[in-house]
């Protein structure tokens, strides 16, 4: 069971929004890059987010570049899970690969600052602030297995290969 506060974001947050190209030189210095997470869209986010908090976004979160650094710095900043109405394909894989849960649900029922409780086993998000219960969309099994191991690297370390 995960519990934390939601930070609300708009539709189409790109990986350029999360980790802008002007900070390209910080990609091998992830702690420094993480200080700038999402700063062009929400300048105060990096200083306000606490470990265990969530992002609640609209459609197509993480579109654009394949830079996995975007998923990593969100996790480093303390984000426990990303909830969105839909997630761009490459970001979806990247988040799972670095052990960051990405959950599809109706985020219209979540406002900025709402307290959420996420039951991953029961596939339900409870909005403790307004009392709504939001079902989480289906998750491909292969991704669930990777996520359960904490990401693709721990998964490969344990299993040595993909299970066919």
């Amino acid at each position: 069971m995960l519990r934390g506060k939601a930070f609300k974001f708009e539709d189409n947050i790109s990986t350029d929004d999360i980790t802008p190209g002007r900070l390209f030189h910080l990609r091998s210095n992830l702690p420094e890059l993480a200080k700038h997470v999402l700063e062009d869209v929400a300048p105060s986010f990096g200083s306000m987010v606490k470990p265990g908090d969530f992002i609640a976004a609209g459609v197509n979160f993480g579109l654009g570049s394949s830079r996995e650094h975007a998923a990593i710095v969100l996790k480093m900043a303390g984000v426990e899970a990303i909830l969105a109405k839909s997630i761009a394909r490459i970001f979806f894989r990247n988040a799972v690969n670095v052990g960051l849960p990405v959950l599809i649900c109706d985020t219209d029922k979540i406002n900025d600052g709402d307290e959420l409780e996420i039951d991953l086993v029961g596939s339900i998000v409870k909005n403790l602030t307004n009392g709504t219960k939001l079902p989480i969309g289906e998750f491909p099994e292969v991704m669930l297995r990777i996520l359960e191991e904490g990401g693709l690297i721990p998964y490969i370390k344990k299993h040595g290969d993909f299970e066919s």
């Binding site: 190209g21 030189h25 830079r67 996995e68």
Partner: protein, 417 residues
């Protein structure tokens, strides 16, 4: 039941009867990294403990995004990639060789292959009938070691393009029209499969542009059937033996059919800050442009430079507009010099950049100032993309870019071609 191109390629690759929705373990025929995603991939590879490289001949590293390096941090990242190539036997294309996606189609991609690259525009090679898709550093790192990855077989959209393009209208305009129609997430997880008369008559240059932008509608891949145009291209690259005929089955099942009449298209422009925010170029007349950029994996090829040179021949850029040109590869640059295009562009006032990504990613070579607008032939105009969140990026064809460079404002190129 008939199969789409995606289902056919992935069935053959995995030795299974693959249908949309299935999860397969695919053999990876080519895996590549660039300098923005490569260092992380190599750190992940080391962390994984996997010591083998499945096929170093088919693992390629490209130094293109920050090339030559503008900072000591990136120069050090480049050292990591060069050292790995030396140690592992992987192939390396150093600064100035060109954009990864152009070098992949020039030297590696073939019909029926599964290609994964740690760059979202890996989809470009779909123009040659390769199932090519972008992934992150960790996925590609594991594929480099194992030679395999997991894939969900995508549902497909059939994009049927009839008719012929009118003068001054290009594949880029079709790509922008299509993305505007689908929306930036309209084809998420899907395979865009192109068909129809306008596609059959399209040059490889046009096909590369269109495949390249499939990801801007969220697509996993953008696939073209192979034909005589594909065969001629592979022959010109010394890979005629690797040509093979690939077509979807006539009874293939598509999730969605999209019909476009190419003859009805006009020059299109994407407005800030989303690729699907489209308008007709003529509707934006009067929009002042401080910088025009012609290049990238979308539109930095020889034919693109030819179109721009023809429009700029004997003319000058507007005094308030800078024109930057970055050929997509060293070979494109060499051929553009031989053909006289570079001379023409320089005489018109262009600044020539080295083959590579140039200013597209906001790292170097043309970062925009506050409030400035750029008309670029690239594929993305997100806020901050070219290094400054206070700048505005418009996307268009090389013809629209060249015409706009002369006028100093967004211009429908049909006035000049």
């Amino acid at each position: 039941m008939g199969k789409t191109l995606a289902e056919k390629i992935l069935s053959e690759n995995s030795g299974s009867d693959a249908h949309a929705g299935d999860i397969i373990i695919a053999r990876v025929d080519l895996a590549f990294l660039q300098d923005g995603t490569g260092p992380l991939a190599l750190r992940q590879l080391e962390e994984s403990g996997l010591e083998q490289i499945a096929n170093p001949e088919r693992v390629v590293l490209f130094l293109d995004h920050a090339a030559p390096s503008p900072s000591l941090e990136l120069a050090n990242d480049h050292i990591i990639l060069r050292q790995f190539a030396r140690k592992s036997g992987a192939q390396l294309y150093d600064v100035g060789e060109g954009v990864c996606h152009q070098l992949v189609v020039e030297s590696y991609a073939n019909p029926g292959e599964v290609i994964i690259g740690a760059d979202s525009h890996t989809v470009t090679a779909g123009a040659l009938g390769a199932f090519a898709t972008g992934m992150g550093s960790t996925d590609v790192a594991i594929a480099i070691a194992l030679g395999r990855t997991w894939l969900r077989v995508p549902e497909s959209f059939n994009v049927a393009v009839s008719g012929g393009f009118t003068k001054g209208v290009y594949a880029k305009d079709l790509a922008l029209h299509l993305i505007g129609r689908l929306g930036a997430d309209g084809a998420t997880y899907k395979s865009l499969e192109f068909s129809g008369e306008a596609i059959a008559n399209m040059s490889m240059t046009g096909r590369f542009t269109l495949a390249n932008m499939a990801v801007e509608a969220g697509a996993k891949t953008g696939l073209f059937p192979t034909d005589e145009v594909t065969r001629a291209y592979l022959e010109s690259r010394g890979r005629s033996a690797l040509f093979r005929s690939l077509r979807p089955d006539p009874d293939a099942k598509y999730e969605r059919a999209i019909a476009i009449d190419a003859s009805s298209l006009e020059p299109m422009v994407s407005k800030p800050h989303a690729v699907d925010n489209i308008a007709l170029a003529r509707e934006l007349t009067g929009t002042k442009i401080a910088q025009v950029f012609i290049g990238t994996c979308t539109n930095g090829r020889l034919d693109d430079l030819a179109v721009a040179a023809a429009i700029l021949s004997g003319k000058r850029c507007h005094p308030k507009t800078r024109l930057l040109v970055a050929p997509a590869s060293r070979e494109v640059l060499r051929e553009a010099i031989s053909a006289g295009y570079i001379q023409t562009l320089l005489e018109a006032g262009a600044v020539l950049l080295p083959p590579g990504c140039g200013p597209c990613v906001g790292v170097h070579q043309g970062v925009l100032g506050d409030g400035e607008a750029c008309l670029s032939t690239a594929n993305r105009n997100f806020r901050g993309r070219m290094g400054n969140p206070e700048a505005h990026i418009y996307l268009g064809s090389p013809a629209t870019a060249a015409a706009s460079a002369i006028a100093g404002e967004i211009t429908d190129p049909r006035e000049l071609v």
